[in-house]
Symmetry: C2
Subunit: 426 residues, 2 copies
């Protein structure tokens, strides 16, 4: 792999190569795909020195660029992470093949046999950021779903990604699978993104995995259908009929277990009837974990009176994805007010209610329009692996095609297969 | 309904109204929706004088604009068509409600109950052309799937559409359903289309139903996800192991039964081993029906030698959607050559093989990448009603979200509903 800049010509060549591989992929057997996945898993372990060496270069460069500790953590690979990545790929090999699955079958009154059968999308383009494990997740999900993939990873992970792609290429080739199926854009040029998202004669889907700047850029400039997501303004609403202990544990988990991800709590809503009792407990557990609380006047009054550390919320604290140890808090007079707040400020990602009241629970689950709605549990469960999909390629907040965690099934389309014996339409 | 030009302000108002109705629609019961549909069906018959009167005005204006006979036929309503439209709406009422359907349910090892439940998309925008029955099809499919809809029909059907919308509004209101769910753009301004397809804060999906100009315009300028289709360059391949009678009947049906629609035959491919025997029979049946045959050199030689009317094909006759009594013909040396031709010139709509050979059939069905692939039957069956979906809102040649005929299920999304008893993510 050369270190020269990827020009438009080179991108076109890569697009053509990956598109050329789709005919091969479409008829690739499950056995061969699984063999390829097992070999990738094996090579991730066998070649760990090569990978960790490349990762070390990225980490050194990242240090000199003064990346934050959380950015470094996302970039860092070690033996444990490689083992976990290999395990995920191996697990994927053991899951049923989505391709060729008959989704629906019927015999019409004229005798025609009509089936809808799952097929690959074709070529998927993915633009992502620092974490090198995403390279392996996406390559293996695309292989399992018989899709070609064009990927462009973050510049800070370039050496790690190069090593991983080299190893994936070697592994699949040794199993008779063309390495053309995976095209890695070996370039850190920022303007290559605009070129990728206009390769509509080659790519069937584009998935931008990154911050809101990237997502808005893709929405505005892409001529390829895009599935966007990953921006989660997540609310947890503590109802008047909430169980106190569950409320405290769930709010704490939603905010603290990984504050830098999209399914973490941003805003706590709490019913006025229980705010005096439950809010101080939740606030204390959050403050002890280092969370900065930004409060509406009612919650501010309650927490100040108990000498809990907090400050007034600004308008910009509602509907904001904090991605850090900050939460905004609002006291509401009713479930309806909570629903209004969520509908007004939410991003359609993950929303939760804590209540023992069946009616309130049902109303919340029915009326909230989001990819994932939760009752009496943490929004942190919006995750492909946590929900049993194996790896995930992204979390969609789009409503078309796929919503929420996207696994290999969400990288497929279907075709209608209609078989007859000479029937004609009258 | 006023006859003033629809300004941007008026469009925004209509968009806001339809979006405001989505909360109501989301929780609307199946019973009430079906009641509304039955009432629409009833009112189409009760108010037939009003509708036919309005349609007469459109037809008179169309005559003076010198529309073609096939355009007039698409525009024309009569008692029979109204009865058939009412029947379709009534049938839709009898089909199961897609909304609320549990697509998948599982209990995770931590006890979480995880369901994927079908929900409405929200608001669907449809831009369509002359046929006024489309107004009723789309309104009823959207009501059944609990979606709001913004529609913009063809200017030549404006009076018919106004009458139909008035009747639908009256019918649903009498059943306690807000008429806001259906917003009709009462304007013939061409530039309103560009405004509609950028109303991304109101519309969840845009469906352009029309010619390739409209579709390309929407692809290029829409900020709303679009599902496009309706352009069908359809091939029927007569294999060396084809049954002669089936081949003749199927090719004839695919070309003749309705030449002006997207699933009609454009190009006939025939294996060289049987071209001497079968091609003249097919050609004769097509020529007798008035079809102009545009032939590659080999088929030209065969047909000329039998004194059948035909002419040489130009390059532009491959990959062309004729929408009329024209077909191009090519003799191929193998199934592989036919597959290559289809992959190169097809539009991914409907493709057929006629063969008694199981291997050839299977290879064709597997390898052709199109919305619908057929063996031993006519491509004309790519149709929501013919395939048992009830009405159809469009035929998608997109691969994302929906492919082929789109019924009410294809106007839905899903959400994840996760219920626990205090579970947190570790």
């Amino acid at each position: 792999m050369k270190q020269e800049n990827t020009s438009y010509d080179q991108l076109s060549t890569q697009c053509q190569k990956v598109k050329d591989s789709t005919g091969f992929l479409r008829v690739l057997s499950s056995e061969q795909k699984n063999l390829g996945l097992k070999e990738i898993a094996k090579q991730l372990l066998v070649s760990q020195d090569e990978i960790l060496q490349a990762n070390k270069i990225d980490l050194e460069q990242a240090h000199s660029k003064q990346l934050t500790e959380s950015q470094l953590a996302r970039l860092r690979l070690d033996q444990d992470r490689l083992r976990s990545m290999a395990h995920d790929v191996s697990t994927l090999a053991d899951l049923p093949d989505p391709i060729g699955e008959t989704i629906e079958e019927k015999i019409l009154s004229n005798g025609l046999n009509v089936r809808r059968v799952r097929v690959p999308l074709g070529v998927v383009g993915v633009i992502y950021e620092s974490r090198p494990n995403v390279t392996v997740d996406i390559a293996s999900l695309c292989l399992k779903s018989s899709n070609g993939v064009l990927m462009r990873g973050g510049s800070e992970a370039l050496n790690s990604n190069r090593a991983l792609v080299r190893i994936i290429h070697k592994a699949v080739e040794s199993c008779g699978i063309t390495k053309q199926f995976l095209q890695f854009i070996d370039s850190t040029e920022r303007n290559i993104i605009k070129e990728i998202i206009n390769m509509d004669s080659y790519l069937d889907l584009i998935i931008p995995r990154g911050g809101s700047d990237l997502i808005h850029f893709v929405k505005e400039h892409s001529s390829i259908p895009a599935i966007t997501g990953g921006i989660g303004v997540c609310h947890t609403y503590i109802d008047k009929d909430a169980d106190v202990d569950k409320a405290v544990a769930i709010a704490h988990n939603a905010k603290i277990s990984n504050p830098s991800v999209c399914n973490a709590l941003d805003t706590l809503l709490i019913h006025t009837d229980v705010s005096d009792v439950i809010l101080p407990k939740i606030a204390q557990s959050l403050v002890e974990a280092g969370v900065e609380l930004r409060c509406d006047p009612k919650s501010l009054a309650i927490l100040c009176s108990q000498n809990l550390l907090c400050k007034p919320a600004q308008d910009s604290d509602w509907g904001n994805e904090f991605l850090s140890l900050i939460a905004s808090i609002r006291v509401v007079d009713s479930l309806e007010e909570a629903l209004w707040h969520i509908s007004h400020y939410g991003s359609g990602h993950s929303e939760a209610i804590v209540t023992e009241n069946q009616n309130s629970k049902q109303q919340f689950l029915n009326e909230v329009d989001a990819a994932a709605v939760f009752a009496n549990t943490s929004t942190r469960f919006t995750d492909g692996s946590a929900l049993g999909l194996g790896s995930e390629v992204a979390i969609s907040t789009s409503k078309l095609h796929a919503r929420g965690p996207m696994g290999m099934r969400e990288l497929t389309s279907y075709k209608w297969i209609i078989q007859g014996d000479g029937q004609i339409r009258t």
